[in-house]
Symmetry: C2
Subunit: 349 residues, 2 copies
């Protein structure tokens, strides 16, 4: 931990008063920024994120441009799995694609244990550079994929709309499913603990696709492994954020998994979300698609989010999912200013 | 209308008592059935659905095999748009793909008015064959795509994960968006009214992807055109079903659009869904992914749906979305028997 404990982002995660509502954007670094496209050139994502100086610079670009209240490590949720030898590539515009799908118990042996320093030293070196270079009031967020979402890539072989293979495996062979998510929980714990040791001030667990599950299936097939990760990292005394999309009916269960903060997409009005997560902090929840409109429309939507966030402490402003590549960076810059000026949740004054 | 008004499906749509809980499955006809694959051979979907004898036979296959309580016309939501000359093809395993995307006001003129008999006579001939051949207790459901969902294919050019182009158009040029969904509402009304005149006993409006919208955006950009369609068809005195996935937070607004029945995916427990739609009937809500497991697991999930449906009239059992191609037809057959034996909502005895 290297950021000031009073940094607005960290205070909001702990549901403490803030000087202003903190704001950052999922995928604030990357394709929407011209300075990113210039720096990346023709290199692949995996090439870029294994070069600590480059990955750190890309992480810093949106902090400079937008004056956001947190930086998020430039990396990918598939890195620990890839680094331990499960064949994966990241296909531009599509996402992680797996060479040989995980299809049954025989594939469990393909998932090795992670030695973070040996296998992913470039990630930790990036964290160390950032811990040194970031201003004290801008904490660094480390991250990992949650067991369900990483498993979904391994089992489906890539992005999916219906998660048919995942659900088939869960329901036909629950023992293998549980062994799979247990191994992925270990990978996430080892990776996140190493990121925290190297200087990350908070972590986000991306369970992006878990909203594909019914509450019953979430409770049985995703929650236990998620809870294991959050308990292990929570014990390191850094804030933890649990995020997914399409999770309206899961928010209470997600809160019970033990994060400090629950991420909320744009489908659920933020006041309803706050009620569903009990006393926990929330992060969100502007529609990234709304940010493709003119700033006047974006400002209306953002003000609705801020109004629904209320005045109680514990709101980190963010989009409900990642910045879309088509987004005008000028709109996001103006949005940061609006949130800083008008946010009221937990504001001291 | 040719089915008996006392048919369990029609009675449940009207929230009246039933002899047994009616059940049918979205995509009950099609790729999961060996008799469909044998009949279709190498022909394209569009070839098959423009042949009334073939389309009628495919519609009847699951009625014979499963003894479901309703038949749904074998067709596609893109047919009226395609039939009026907007270049679209249906790519197997992917869905509708548009040759030249709708990108602005100049494209409005590409959407002609539908003359159902001239442009889609094969659809109406299929309905007429089915009205003659179906048993009186098995009503025929006609259907159309809701304006938002059809617009999403035209604007995105095909299936989408983030609906970035749709949301960009809505927020940047709301007047063009509204003109687009108005034309698509007219197409849906003309197509559905003709299907009803030819003998359809009920209609379903598929707004499959509308769950991508926040409640605010749904109310502004999707609800008005949807309401127009439902009011026009409701005046014909046939039950109307409004369906979408990921719509947990939209159910109350969807109920306000004026359908007889609201379709509910598997993300929302059915008791919560019934509370959100007020006194309307509901249709759903077993996860199609759960049907890939052994029947014992499917039976557990189905009993949970039936328990949450309660005892008040107004439940049509269905999956929360279409049958997945990998589904074992034997599982669906056993599921029909279970629902008939154990369903309690509105049951007379």
């Amino acid at each position: 931990m290297t950021a000031a404990p009073s940094a607005p982002f960290l205070a909001a995660c702990r549901c403490e008063p803030v000087a202003h509502t903190p704001v950052w954007f999922m995928r604030q670094a990357g394709r929407s920024l011209p300075e990113y496209r210039a720096l990346k050139g023709d290199r692949s994502i995996l090439e870029v994120l294994t070069e600590p100086e480059l990955a750190a610079e890309i992480t810093l670009q949106p902090v400079r441009r937008y004056r956001v209240d947190a930086a998020i490590l430039f990396s990918d949720i598939i890195v620990p799995v890839w680094a331990t030898g499960f064949g994966v590539e990241i296909v531009a515009g599509r996402g992680p694609v797996v060479e040989h799908r995980f299809s049954g118990p025989a594939d469990l042996s393909r998932l090795g244990r992670l030695d973070p320093e040996t296998d992913t030293g470039y990630v930790l070196d990036t964290v160390r550079i950032l811990a040194r270079e970031l201003p004290a009031e801008v904490p660094l967020i480390g991250f990992a994929g949650a067991p369900f979402t990483v498993a979904s890539y391994l089992v489906e072989g890539g992005p999916s709309r219906d998660f048919a293979r995942v659900k088939g495996l869960m329901h036909r062979d629950p023992a293998t499913w549980e062994a799979l998510v247990d191994r992925l929980a270990e990978l996430a714990i080892d990776s996140l603990a190493a990121q925290v040791a190297a200087g990350a001030d908070a972590v986000q667990l991306f369970d992006s696709w878990v909203g594909a599950l019914s509450p019953r299936d979430y409770e049985r097939f995703a929650l236990p492994a998620t809870r294991r990760v959050l308990e292990a990292i929570g014990a390191l005394r850094v804030p933890t954020i649990l995020f997914g999309v399409g999770t309206g009916e899961l928010l209470g269960l997600m809160a019970s998994a033990g994060p400090s903060v629950v991420g909320v997409d744009w489908r659920v009005p933020l006041d309803a979300a706050r009620a569903r997560v009990g006393g926990l902090a929330v992060q969100g929840n502007l529609d990234p698609g709304a940010c493709l409109g003119p700033f006047e429309a974006v400002a209306n939507e953002a003000r609705d989010v801020l109004r629904r966030a209320g005045t109680e402490p514990g709101h980190v402003f963010n989009l409900g999912h990642g910045v879309l590549p088509e987004t005008d960076p000028g709109v996001l810059g103006a949005l940061v200013d609006l949130v800083h000026a008008e946010g009221r949740a937990g504001r001291v004054q």
